[in-house]
């Protein structure tokens, strides 16, 4: 009962209340409250990811698994970022600076520490460049994937190839210099592309609405780890 029926009942009641608030204005208060609750729950749920990451890498270190030394890098980066974030956000350096005499050795140490533990600088110069480079790396792989996709000499593959080529040409200054390419690109994007996307969107919308109803009514319960 507690393990199976109660969660399904909670889901049903929460779903119905949230659905009703669209039609019953006084319930908007409940909606606002629910959004804040969901935000708190998701913020706490992030601890699961943190615990899981630490667990995986400490296990790798304990077992001395393949490439285990890189786990030190991950764990060090994680701790460094959290410490840097907390020190910066809680304004510890500002407090330390206030208690320092100008030109003293203590001020020099605090300034050096502040620069080394600059939360925003680490984000801007470590995370952003790595992520942007990883995505740009896909430019090389997408080209080889395209070559393999276009090797299939079917009518559909040819259509895909032609549309992709025209859109790519129409998006660069050199391609736009070819007469008609810009107009055809705009037409492809505005007409057949819109039609296909609209068909997919309507299909997705119908799927989302029906799946949501199935979840609320307890027909779909695999999200709770129940098979029947």
């Amino acid at each position: 009962m507690m393990r199976r029926q109660v969660p399904l009942l909670i889901c049903f009641v929460a779903g119905i209340v949230m659905l009703s608030q669209n039609f019953i204005p006084p319930l908007t208060w409940v909606y606002q409250q629910a959004l804040e609750w969901a935000r708190i729950i998701s913020a706490i749920a992030l601890f699961i990811g943190l615990i899981s990451l630490v667990r995986v890498h400490t296990m790798k270190l304990k077992r001395k698994a393949a490439n285990y030394r890189y786990s030190y890098v991950t764990l060090f980066a994680l701790c460094y970022m959290i410490i840097a974030g907390f020190l910066t956000k809680y304004g510890l350096f500002v407090k330390l600076h206030a208690g320092c005499d100008t030109g003293s050795a203590w001020e020099w140490i605090v300034t050096a520490l502040e620069k080394a533990l600059n939360f925003q600088e680490i984000f801007l110069n470590v995370q952003i460049p790595i992520q942007a480079t990883m995505f740009s790396l896909l430019a090389f792989y997408i080209a080889s994937a395209a070559f393999r996709a276009f090797k299939a000499r079917t009518f559909e593959a040819t259509l895909l190839l032609i549309a992709a080529m025209i859109v790519m040409l129409g998006r660069v200054p050199l391609g736009q210099m070819i007469p008609g390419v810009k107009e055809i690109t705009v037409w492809i994007l505005d007409v057949p592309n819109t039609a296909a996307k609209r068909g997919i969107m309507i299909g997705v919308g119908l799927g989302m609405a029906s799946t949501s109803l199935k979840i609320m009514l307890g027909i779909e319960r695999t999200y709770l780890g129940m098979k029947d």
Binding site: Q33, A77, V126, T194
Partner: protein, 218 residues
């Protein structure tokens, strides 16, 4: 450029080149950068989440609950969140179902009306425009093409009946529209990746090489 800025530029350049070294083959530099970004990004998200999620929505309201007793209601999501953490326990992980059920219920109930409105009604309305009212014959032709394309794409995804006869022909037309749409999306994706590549090369040439040269040259 100050000495500190130059230092961070070199760090970013080293990491950029480490990631690009994967084009040759998997190597220690790539693995280092890969493991580094995992730690940094989780640490970053955790810190931001703490300061922009837990602080304003949980800690601050609870601290002010002497003046606003109504804020004590936030203890409920706190307990639900803690129950969710039991997901990692083998014995008590079933308790996390209450939280998951509540979040799913809120999500589903909230999603249905806007989904129907924006993804179904608005899209259907936009496809069924008055053809006679169009400013030109070409605009009318385009409107008809969009309508035919939308219907044929939807029919392609209708699997309750075998695709034969008129249904088969319409589904085939749907594939044509889908392929052109996928081609356009593919072209866009390629261009987005190329523009990121240009951005990284721009950084390496202008910020790193020329920036370092200017710093040395004074």
């Amino acid at each position: 450029m100050t000495g500190m800025e130059l230092f961070w530029t070199w760090v970013a350049a080293f990491l950029t080149l480490s990631i690009y070294s994967f084009l040759y083959k998997d190597n220690p530099f790539y693995k280092f950068a890969e493991h580094l970004v995992v730690g940094v990004s989780v640490g970053y998200i955790f810190t931001i989440n703490w300061h922009q999620g837990l602080h304003p929505y949980l800690f601050n309201p609870l601290a002010a609950s002497w003046e606003h007793p109504y804020n004590l209601l936030r203890v409920i999501p706190l307990i639900l969140g803690l129950l969710f953490l039991l997901r990692i326990s083998r014995k008590y992980n079933w308790l996390s179902r209450f939280t998951i059920a509540l979040v799913m219920g809120i999500g589903c109930g909230t999603a249905i009306p806007p989904t129907i409105e924006t993804r179904i009604i608005q899209q259907t309305k936009a496809s069924m425009i008055n053809i006679i009212d169009q400013p030109s014959l070409w605009a009318g032709f385009c409107a008809v093409t969009i309508l035919v394309g939308t219907i044929s794409t939807l029919i392609y995804f209708f699997f309750s009946k075998e695709h034969k006869g008129i249904l088969g022909g319409t589904a085939r037309l749907g594939i044509v529209f889908l392929m052109v749409g996928f081609g356009a999306s593919f072209g866009y994706t390629v261009m987005a990746r190329i523009s990121l590549l240009i951005g990284r090369l721009n950084f390496l040439i202008n910020d790193w090489v020329i920036g370092t040269w200017n710093f040395i040259a004074g």
